[in-house]
């Protein structure tokens, strides 16, 4: 699966306002909601579900990235939103370091395989230092979209 297949670029937040986990999750879910990806009236419930999942085990997996996610009936296929913070977010990450790049992923309740494919696609890139660095250096939503699309086309990036 390619990033562009499920990342909603309209929902990109190049500079997150919040500097704490739950605030960032709310911002990204709201962005997806505004982009029309969550159906009607699901925003609050999706926020709650993502925060609940995050409290069970942090998805701040180190190296400045976090991947909050949840399975929810609000979506029919996997959808993601990217958020960046230059000041750093307290995400209760595994390495206790601040998080700068957040990718929120919402998956349908009944297709675990699609969820795994989206995860694979995200981590394939996120584990590369160069990709993480470019993501952090992105100044606006357009640059983030260009980076993700380029990463899709050029696996060596």
């Amino acid at each position: 699966m390619k990033l562009a297949d499920f990342v909603c670029f309209e929902a990109t937040i190049p500079e997150l306002k919040s500097d704490y986990r739950d605030g960032v999750i709310a911002e990204l879910v709201t962005a997806l909601d505004k982009a029309g990806k969550l159906g009607r009236g699901n925003r609050e419930d999706v926020i709650k579900a993502v925060v609940k999942r995050e409290k069970e085990a942090s998805t701040g997996m180190g190296k400045g990235v976090a991947l909050p996610h949840v399975k929810h009936h609000a979506v029919k296929d996997v959808v993601a939103a990217v958020g960046q913070s230059s000041m750093g977010i307290d995400f209760v990450a595994l390495d206790k370091q601040p998080v700068y790049s957040v990718i929120l992923l919402i998956s349908p309740a009944d297709s675990p395989d699609r969820h795994l494919q989206a995860m694979e696609s995200i981590f394939k890139h996120l584990q590369k230092e160069k990709f993480r660095k470019f993501l952090r250096q992105s100044q606006n939503a357009e640059q983030i979209e260009d980076l993700l699309r380029e990463a899709d086309e050029n696996p060596s990036l």
Binding site: E56, A57, T59, M61, G62, K63, L67, H69, L94, P112, D113, H115, L116, Q117, M119, E120, F123, K124, L126, Q127
Partner: protein
């Protein structure tokens, strides 16, 4: 004489310390190797000194890295090859096999009717 035998024993033990152990395991839980199971896997792997790698055929990743393990996208039914190298390789592979196959990450198995 006695000294030489001692040397031989030392050398033998030195060689025995580096063990390579491999085993194929099947992902059995319905949801596959998503983040929570991947974290459990990495937690268990990190209890051992051995180097641990996991291969899905397409990808060969570090079994102690959560990012790399999440990259495997191992759905239910996927077969993975676990390879450990080091003094506790055997125990590491056994423990990981138990987690993946016997405990299936404490997650539900597929409905038999459906599969």
């Amino acid at each position: 004489m006695a000294g030489r035998r001692q040397n031989n024993t030392d050398r033998l033990e030195g060689r025995q310390q580096k063990v390579v152990c491999e085993r194929e395991v099947e992902i059995r839980n319905t949801e596959g190797l998503h983040m929570r199971p991947a974290m459990q896997f990495v937690d268990v792997a990190n209890r051992f000194e051995s180097e641990i790698s996991v291969s899905s055929g397409d990808n060969n990743v570090d079994g102690k890295s959560i990012m790399q393990m999440s990259m495997l996208a191992a759905v239910c039914g996927t077969k993975l090859k676990i390879r450990a190298e080091g003094i506790d390789a055997q125990r590491a592979v056994e423990a990981l096999k138990e987690l993946v196959e016997d405990k299936h990450f404490d997650e539900p198995l597929p409905d038999k009717k459906k599969r």
